[in-house]
């Protein structure tokens, strides 16, 4: 008998209908469970973030300055921030508008952010990308400060294997450093390169003494984080969070406060009369890499 026929008959002889049904049951069950697990994960709500009246913040009024139409933009945004914080968190939607025509590329926002969040070497939340238009010597420069885009459809969230990052009700994409395992999948998934990994470096490590200011804890997400002994956020992915810890105290993000050209607008997108909403309606507005479908909450005026 040819070998092929012999094998076929062996195969037929060895697998009964009961074997086949049992196998189909096990494999089919396995596939069904897998599909259910993935579907449930995709549809499940983000981790519990406190909402409702408890999240309302009562920020004191300005006592020494009057806010009117002629006031500095920062004062107006500060007043609008107070108004937004008087609402529950789910009714706010933080948004940033950056006017590239006002940005002079001084990098003050980058430096201020590093100082505020005590960022170590290699970790940056808000670099300023420079674009050169034309050919030397007939060129013009344009600057694009690049914070986290706090996307409405964030590609970094769905890839996290341990639910350590999620979209908050107020639009900020948060990371729980205590949960993050440091796999860097979210870093790969972000088209803006907005996440960086903390590799545990210090600016003064090759000097005679590690400077004490580098060992101070930072206050991201309203919690004290101390990197000593490879503790989080060392080994974790890190990113801009619109200075949530400052917002909760009624202060604007550090980059907005520091900007010498008042090129940053920040506020509640759910408030149509806010300055940020006003600027976001300008006809010269663009969003970076919009074709990626991430729906960023940072808008640029060009």
């Amino acid at each position: 008998m040819p070998e092929e026929t012999k094998q076929k008959s062996l195969f037929e002889k060895e697998i009964s209908r009961k074997d086949f049904l049992r196998t189909a049951g096990v494999v089919g069950g396995g596939v069904a469970v897998s599909v259910a697990a993935v579907t449930a994960a995709r549809l499940s709500p983000p981790p519990e973030t406190p909402t409702g009246k408890e999240t309302i913040r009562d920020i004191p009024d300005f006592k020494t300055v009057e806010v009117n139409e002629k006031s500095d933009l920062l004062l107006r945004m500060q007043a609008e921030l107070k108004k937004a914080l008087a609402k529950p968190v789910e009714e706010r939607k933080w948004m940033m508008v950056i006017d590239t025509r006002k940005c002079v590329g001084c990098h003050a926002c980058t430096v201020a952010c590093i100082a505020e969040n005590k960022l170590p070497p290699g970790v940056v939340y808000r670099p300023v990308v420079q674009e050169e238009i034309g050919e030397y010597p007939n060129t013009q420069l344009r600057f694009f400060p690049r914070p986290c885009m706090q996307c409405d459809n964030p590609s970094c969230v769905s890839v996290c294997p341990v639910n350590a990052t999620w979209k908050r009700p107020d639009g900020v994409v948060q990371i729980d450093y205590d949960k993050c395992i440091g796999c860097r999948y979210c870093i790969s998934a972000c088209p803006y390169g907005a996440r960086t990994s903390d590799f545990g470096e210090y600016y003064t490590e090759d000097t005679p003494e590690l400077q004490p200011y580098e060992l101070l804890p930072n206050n991201e997400y309203g919690k004290s984080w101390n990197r000593e002994g490879h503790s989080s956020p060392m080994g974790n992915a890190r990113k801009c969070h619109f200075c949530l810890h400052r917002l909760n105290e009624g202060e604007l993000p550090m980059c907005v406060t520091t900007c010498i050209g008042r090129a940053n607008y920040f506020g509640d997108a759910n408030e149509p009369d806010s300055l940020v909403s006003e600027m976001a309606r300008q006809s010269n507005q663009i969003k970076l890499l919009e074709e990626k479908g991430t729906k960023p909450s940072v808008i640029y005026l060009i």
Binding site: V128, S158, V162, I181, S188, S197, F199, A237
Partner: protein, 385 residues
Amino acid sequence: MLEKTYKNLSRIWAVVFAIGFIALVMKFLTGERLAGYGSYVPWGLWVALYFHFVGIAGGVFAIGTIGYVFNLTGFRENFRVVIVVSVAAVITGLFSIWLDLGQPFRFVRILYAPNFGSMMAFNAWMYSLFIITAGVIFYLTLNKEKQTDFHDKKRWMLPLMALGFLFSIAFPSQSGAFFGVVDAKPFWSSPLLPILFLASAITSGGAVLLLVYTFLHYEEFDLTHQPFRILRLTIIGGIIFYFIAEFAEYSLVFWSPNSDIREAVELILFGPFWWVFWFVHIGGALISLYLLLKGKTYQTVGTGAFIVAVTFVSARLNVLIPGQAVAQLKGLKEAFTHERLRFDYSATLNEYLIALFIGAFGVALVYFGIKFLSQFTKKRLGTSL
């Protein structure tokens, strides 16, 4: 003669293991400081090795199962070897990715608090379930009347093997999907990727299985007999298929002037690591093809299989690194400069040495796994593994 070869190989293994171990200790003392990857190219050599090893695991088990079900000579009686090799490869792959984690001691979170919407968590669970399934199958192989029988006494062999087969096909395909779902990297967003990963898994898995069989059964080595014949043909077919698929992908890229992924493919072919593609990937495959086609002795065929098993890691590297090395946001590289904020990646000495350690660890798992379990089966069945 053979004893001398074994002795030499053992010595090489011991040196590699020792040097790699020192590098590993240094890694644990310094965290990730000695690694060359950064934030813009966050995955490097160890991640490539992880995908290579889980691919090998999948390929070994898939081929072994097909051979078992279709009763190809040598597969049923050696199925426990298939299980040991594939489980050892999964564990080696997991060890490799564990080393890559920024907070390695939190890895268990992926098991008790997973997000199944992430390919990483999905895969981690699949590996765990595969190891359990493989363990149960191993146990069932001990409960057969004869080693050449299909079923165990309770006839659970087939359903569990089918489940294991599903896992083994899913590992490599899912590895492709792992990258494919990342829209941020156009080079990875290719439906061809899961197919390429599966093809390379079958090819490298076949090579590892052939290598192990050659070591275990060199006295019976005959290319006209199974399992050597089918394994050799599988590897040759796998290499050819992989190159056809790869050619299809790359040639289309160059056809279109506006291809999003042209820059990545140019990096592969003509970038600073051009030699990985031309020498390691193409060169390695051509040499092994020659050895596998023309070789008559177990030494030449074994060498051919070894070259495939090692050089096919370049297939993973050539997907992994170029995909990350092209910035979506132009100017980001210059916006804030630091060693960790670069779009080029070169593995450091520490990474290479640990990679060698990972390889040596995998070899040790297979060797001691076979040795230890052989003693166990000898006691229980009176035969070695």
